[in-house]
Amino acid sequence: MNTHRPVRALSRALSRALSQSTSSSSFPLKNVTKSNFEPVLAELRRHVAAADFVAVDLEMSGVTSAPWRDSLEFDRSDVSYLKVKDSAEKFAVLQFGVCPFRWDSSKKSFIAHPHNFYVFPRQELPVESPTYEFLCQTTSIDFLAKYQFDFNMGIHEGISYLSRGQENEALRCFHLAYEDGSKLKEVRDAPLVKMADTLFTERMKNTFTEWRDGLLRNKNGGFQFQGISNDRQQHLETIFFKMRPALSLNGFTSHQLKLIQLVIRRHFQDLSYVQVNGENSCQQRLVVHTDSKDDRESLMKDVKDEHLRQAETKVQAAVGFRHVIDLLSSEKKLIVGHNCFLDIAHIYSKFVGPLPSTAEEFVSSVNKCFPHILDTKVLLNANIGLQQRMKKSQTSLSSAFASLCPQISLGAKSTDLAFQLCVKVEVQVDDLRSSNWNSGAKHEAGYDAFMTGCVFAQACSHLGIDFEACLPSEKLAHNEKLQKHINLLFLSWSKGDVIDLTTGNKNVMSVGSKNNKKRYLQISYEKIALIWGFSTKLKAREIRECISKVFGLTSVVSIYHLDETAVFVQFNKEKLVSEFLSLKDTLERKDGPVSVLHPLAGLLEGGNTRAADYETYKEICSSPNAKVLFADQAEAFGIQWKTKLVEAKALCLECESSGEKKALNPASKSNEKSERKNMENVQSDSSTACVSNYKIIDSLIASRGDKVRTNL
């Protein structure tokens, strides 16, 4: 951006005036796009190297690809990870905030350098790869728009990147291309068919002969070679290429160049055709004279090496924003984020490699790249002292910032005693400095990273960490007061699941004050059945009624809607899940008046009701499709069966007589493969299985009849 330069000059002049009087100011933070990326990166290297910790924050194009992918109360920790994985894989990072913080002991204050990188996954290299594509969540994009996110800037000027995997692939492709020599495409020998081609070839042959003979004759003399003079567009010029005489070919068509290559190969042992990239990336074609075969080989090798070097430079440039990630990783600095598990997953999937399939594998790989990560949300929730200081306010970033760092968030300089305890943070952007800076641009990644860093610095001070005592050699990451908080991230904030990045251990942390009651209610996932595809008119209450009519009033502990098409039914006993599934299966195989009058008929109405256990939910969560409704997702996942029967650990009540056992067993024993078959088509002899149900049903119908009447 050309306009930057005069602005920068002006700002420099202004800053000189400002730096003397560090009054309250609100200059913008450092916005980084592809036009100023290189110089900023060089500067950032210095800042990060000197930093005590680096705060990061990301703005994404979305969070959940479907409502049911949102973090739910009934998420087991492995399911939580799958949801985060899905989010990181589908959405793009649009803005990346990096803010290095350095303690300046002379000023007794932190120096922060907030950077706001615009990132856009543009394809820069012509290397074959799956199309660059990402998902946008409409509400997230709208949310960003509310905070004046500059989408034009992002799309026009955003910095692109290659992950480590993509970089290796690109390099491999380039190497392969040059190994094969296909970059210097060997022209196939083809008979010259056209008259014009023959004439052209003949003329070029004569020209090259003349040139070469001239060179040989006048090794020391000043040989003057006349290019093809009859055409002003085409001309040959004698130059030196790598200490060898060469002819540069200009103004030829690609077909003519092919013919020239043929001529050279056929008729001249001591001439070689090479193609090099000139200074301003225009391609230059040369015919180079070599003294011997060895000389020729060394020339070709030189040319090839140069091509490779150029390709590598190109790949290095395409690595783009990942240089920042590599920098953070190689400096092994303490990374500070706020509720940053998803952020870390994004960083991993975009810049390191594909996300592993389990949380344990993921955290161990993350730990290798970033050995020290601290989540301020974990820190704030873990320490009671901090919670008291925050006067029980929310632990969202902006409210934590407001309650812990009032001196910065209010932007006012006060001599208030309370403010004296606050950690001072001085912001530096280029030459602009301010000790109470406030750009006010919330939900801008750079500013959010700055807030996170301030919250962390303040929290450290409350924990009694003396920044002065922390010598540069003794890193903050190894401070014993932080040890029990470091490398802990919320796998799921709503459930308080915390994962330890160093060990992969998962714990439940009691967070907040509101949901404490629920915390201790352990969910047993074996007692959960998943039902979807039922009539959208059905509400949780009606589903509960349906089921408790069959299995007893206390059988259903709770009904939880994933979305309007699916529910979790939590039973009070594990075996009820398998009983429910087999009853549903049995009913659906038999059409008849009984199944219509059965209490479950309401649930099965429409014939599309599917049911399965919790494991199926996990499987569906791991599928990459992005359907908005759960029922559609299950269908896209390829589920064609209606009921997934699970092996009951205890014997079903219905299976008491041996005859019925026979009928039921083939179904309940069915393994994965046969389950996928359409159950409707399998008309097994299930009529006997229904018999035992009749008695129950009869009594239920009677009681239902009473109920209907009392309803009036």
């Binding site: 479907a66 394809q123 074959e128 660059y132 409409t138 509400t139 908005v628 996928r676």
Partner: protein
């Protein structure tokens, strides 16, 4: 020579004036623009539409290919329409009188904002960075689009939204003779009747004298009286739709003063019936008109941009499109209802809304050399150079104006006009004042034309000349091959196959679909079956074919490909998708009788050559 001079003259005169410009429409000026558009549409004979989307296809084989049947091409278009988003809808009502083209272009900027907070129109959408980059280069303003784009709801979403928004609707009592009152019903009616009477009298009494605030609020508590607008009202709680009907029936008795409103419950059903008391007959009419206006205003807000679609549909004017299959799958899924499962249902459903769709690509098929031209400027320049068909258009936007995408729709009109002139589509055909399309154009009305369906990326492709050697072949003669080593060219693979088995001694062709998968055509019927039998039978397979199979070569019929599309196995590599389709246990059961005999056109230069990719 004379024509050349005349053309020059025409060109210069065309460049001279710039009477109109493309009207950019966002949220801010939408309502005025719609009124103008309505008038322009009424005065025009045709309307051209063109969509700017966030993506087209994720992998090479996901686009419509020459060997696609109508159904597979539709399924591919459906896959794209369901994932990507329309950010700009260009609509241009135009008329062609003699050689004079009058066009009124509008660019509606769209963004699927959830204006009503009901999770619609679109929870999320995919974007392709290449498309966004291209749009950015063309000068598309994404900030304007996201901040101020017009939202919309499809017809299907509209009915769902009405339930969720839960605005009161006037209660209309439907006389149902079968409704016989039970004892409970009578009790219910009597109870609410006395309540309503009591309340009405109280309201009237209090209307005559002025109460102090305390008293009136007490009265409000006791009687359940509330104020609706400026009029008093009360709510009657109901437990079922039957009770709603009973309440409405009872209220008929008071119909000269009371207006019933139905208050919907969250998530469908009725929560209560609200009774509004009006002071006189005039006041009642006034109130009903007010209600009507509120409902209309509401509907407008809910529909948003879809109003334009509704206008076009209601006008019954022929719609001119350039990528009809792609554009209309988008239009159907975003503005009408979710896309049906197959192409026949789709065309059926679409023709109810848009009875006449003219595809420019289809028209161009009638001019031999234009068969493969997919980009509008190239086609225009070809026609300019080869035909004399002056079209008088005030401004044909120039290439160097930067924002080409804005003018695309005008160029479409221009090209259409030229084609009509060249193809001598008679004058009377174009004047479709009677809302009927003359038969002359009818033969070009065809949506199911996958060949025209070339994605946007190819906009800058050069003209390629069609060699006119299309041959009709049945899908049965096609075999998909994959699992061979990478780096092969089609020629190499062909010669390997040629040596491998007797089946290949007859005439056959091999082309790459993508880097993972090739397609072989047996020109002699029946040989494909023989080949598939050989490959799948260990006993009879031999020679180098056996070796190739042992190295991983797999082969399958066209049926598997159709299955891939039907199941939506859109992997990046076709080979992967074919493998998945074969793994599917239902595969063998799937009797596939409907499309077996379908023929497709095979042209030797229409395949995507791997070397070109």
């Amino acid at each position: 020579m004379a024509t050349l001079i005349r053309r020059r003259l025409l060109c210069t005169s065309a460049k001279a004036g710039k009477k109109w410009a493309v009207k950019e429409v966002t949220k801010a000026n939408f309502s005025e623009a719609v009124e103008e558009f309505k008038d322009d549409l009424a005065r025009s004979d045709f309307v051209a539409v063109s969509l700017q989307k966030t993506g087209s296809f994720s992998a090479g084989w996901h686009r419509a290919l020459p060997f696609d049947t109508n159904d597979t091409a539709y399924l591919k278009a459906k896959y794209a329409a369901e994932r990507f988003q329309v950010l700009q809808f260009a609509a241009c009502p135009f008329s062609l009188r003699a050689t004079k083209l009058t066009a009124h272009p509008y660019n509606f900027i769209l963004f699927p904002r959830d204006e009503l907070k009901v999770g619609m129109p679109s929870y999320s959408f995919s974007v392709q960075t290449s498309h966004l980059t291209y749009m950015a280069q063309e000068g598309f303003d994404f900030n304007a689009c996201i901040y101020d784009g017009i939202s919309y709801l499809s017809k299907a979403q509209e009915s769902a939204a009405k339930v969720r928004i839960g605005n009161p609707t006037p209660g209309n009592y439907v006389v149902d003779s079968s409704l016989t009152h039970t004892v409970a019903d009578t009790i219910f009616i009597e109870r609410i009747k006395s309540r309503v009477k009591h309340w009405k009298n109280a309201c009237k009494k209090s209307g005559s004298r002025t109460d102090d605030a305390l008293l009136s609020s007490l009265r409000k508590l006791v009687m359940g009286t509330e104020i609706y607008g400026s009029r008093p009202c009360m709510n009657i709680d109901v437990c079922s739709e039957r009770q709603v009907q009973l309440a409405l029936e009872m209220l008929k008795e008071f119909s000269d003063e009371l207006v019933p409103l139905i208050i919907p419950a969250n998530g469908g059903g009725t929560q209560s019936v609200r009774v509004v008391l009006t002071s006189s007959k005039e006041d009642k009419d006034l109130f009903e008109r007010e209600l009507q206006n509120v409902v209309e205003e509401q509907n407008k807000r809910v529909r948003g941009f879809r109003e334009v679609i509704d206008l076009i549909s209601a006008s019954q004017k022929p719609v001119v499109s350039h990528n009809s299959l792609n554009d209309f799958t988008f239009i159907h899924s975003k503005f009408l209802s979710p896309l049906p499962a197959n192409v026949d249902e789709f065309t059926g459903s679409l023709s109810l809304v848009f009875p006449h769709i003219l595809d420019i690509n289809h028209l161009m098929k009638n001019i031999g050399p234009l068969r493969k031209v997919t980009n509008i400027p190239a086609a225009i320049s070809y026609l300019n150079n080869h035909y004399f068909a002056p079209i008088d258009l005030e401004t044909l936007p120039q290439e160097n104006e930067g924002k080409i995408h804005r003018h695309n729709v005008v160029k479409m009109c221009y090209l259409f006009a030229k084609l009509c002139t060249i193809l001598k589509i008679p004058e009377n055909a174009k004047l479709s004042n009677n809302h009927l399309l003359a038969p002359a154009l009818d033969e070009y009305t065809n949506i199911s034309n996958p060949f025209s369906d070339i994605p946007q990326e190819s906009i800058n492709e050069d003209i390629r000349i069609w060699r006119n050697n299309m041959r009709k072949i049945s899908c049965d003669n096609l075999v998909f091959l994959w699992g061979f080593r990478s780096g092969l060219t089609a020629g190499m693979l062909k010669s390997m196959l040629h040596k491998s088995h007797d089946v290949f001694s007859e005439d056959f062709d091999v082309r790459f679909v993508d880097k993972s998968c090739a397609i072989a055509v047996f020109w002699q019927p029946g040989l494909s079956g023989t080949f598939l039998d050989v490959v799948s039978n260990e006993a009879i397979i031999g020679g180098s074919l056996r070796e190739m199979v042992s190295e991983g070569l797999r082969a399958t019929s066209y049926r598997t490909y159709k299955r891939v599309c039907k199941l939506g196995l859109w992997e990046a590599d076709l080979a992967e998708s074919l493998d998945k389709a074969l793994e599917d246990p239902d595969y063998s059961m799937d009797a596939d009788s409907t499309t077996n005999g379908r023929e497709i056109l095979w042209s030797t230069d229409s395949m995507i050559n791997f070397d070109d990719l």
